[in-house]
């Protein structure tokens, strides 16, 4: 091999060919971006441990510890029959003994959001709460 030929092999014959193209990289990054945008959930889910113990909700098994929050269709709340505002209800729940159990009984037309708000108050007060749908009041 002549000197001139070996020089030609060693040196890239065109500078623009030697540069790596960015386009495939961008393609792959875009695809990854779209995958993560579609596959990920931005709002993290949190669980409420909702007590479904077998002794909640039936009047025969009501004990002194069992309290009932009734949610009315017009947004009203009753704790053991007393009409209360949301703030008063939260205060009353905090005042209950910690071994108390709570039954949240929504009327027809009450959304889960309102019921969960009360369940959340109960867990803030450290009380086990369950969600029921009493048959008689449908």
């Amino acid at each position: 091999m002549s000197l001139a030929a070996s020089r030609r092999l060693a040196r890239p014959n065109n500078a623009s060919h030697a540069r790596i193209s960015l386009t495939p990289l961008i393609d792959v990054i875009f695809i990854l971006l779209i995958f993560f945008m579609l596959a990920s959930r931005l709002s993290a889910w949190q669980d409420i441990d909702i007590s479904i113990a077998s002794d909640s909700g039936t009047p025969q098994q009501m004990t002194g510890d069992l309290h009932r929050v009734s949610l009315l269709g017009d947004g009203g709340m009753l704790l053991d029959g007393d009409a209360l505002s949301a703030d008063m209800l939260a205060a009353r729940l905090k005042a209950l003994p910690k071994d108390a159990r709570l039954v949240v009984d929504p009327a027809a037309g009450v959304t889960l959001e309102s019921a969960v708000r009360v369940l959340d108050m109960a867990s803030g007060a450290g009380i086990a709460a369950s969600l029921v749908a009493e048959e008689g009041k449908r």
């Binding site: 960015l22 971006l33 990920s40 889910w45 009984d105 959304t111 969960v116």
Partner: protein, 128 residues
């Protein structure tokens, strides 16, 4: 002459900021989002201040805003849910219900789970 050369230089470099932004977006979605199996229908769980991170339980029940049910990926109704639970029933069930669904429906479903022998149920919420 000088002007044309500068323009050509700008054309080749203009891709790099784009890649930077796309990279940042990619990293944002990788870090902030959590990879999760898609829900069978669009779902907006109610808000709570619970700190218990949601995790996949033995079984999963989805309730849509209009009351449609999906248990472990199969469409069920309130009547066929007990059969879908199987024997023995799962001990723990995660219930992901839309915040707009009627609370009485969820109450009835929880009662149905309890009667079928489910020990614990977890209601999915989002942090408020």
């Amino acid at each position: 002459m000088k002007l044309t050369r500068r323009r050509r230089l700008a054309e080749t470099e203009s891709v790099v900021p784009l890649i930077n932004i796309v990279f940042l977006l990619l990293i944002f979605f990788m870090v902030v989002g959590e990879l999760a199996a898609p829900t069978p229908f669009p779902l907006e769980p109610p808000q709570s201040s619970s700190d218990l991170a949601s995790e996949k339980r033995e079984a999963e029940l989805f309730v849509s805003a209009d009351g449609a049910l999906s248990f472990n990926g199969a469409n069920v109704t309130e009547a066929t849910l007990a059969d879908a639970l199987g024997t023995p029933p799962p001990a723990e069930v995660r219930v992901a219900a839309d915040g707009k669904v009627e609370a009485r429906l969820v109450g009835r479903l929880l009662a149905g789970l309890r009667e079928a022998g489910v020990k614990r149920a977890f209601l999915v919420t989002v942090k408020n």
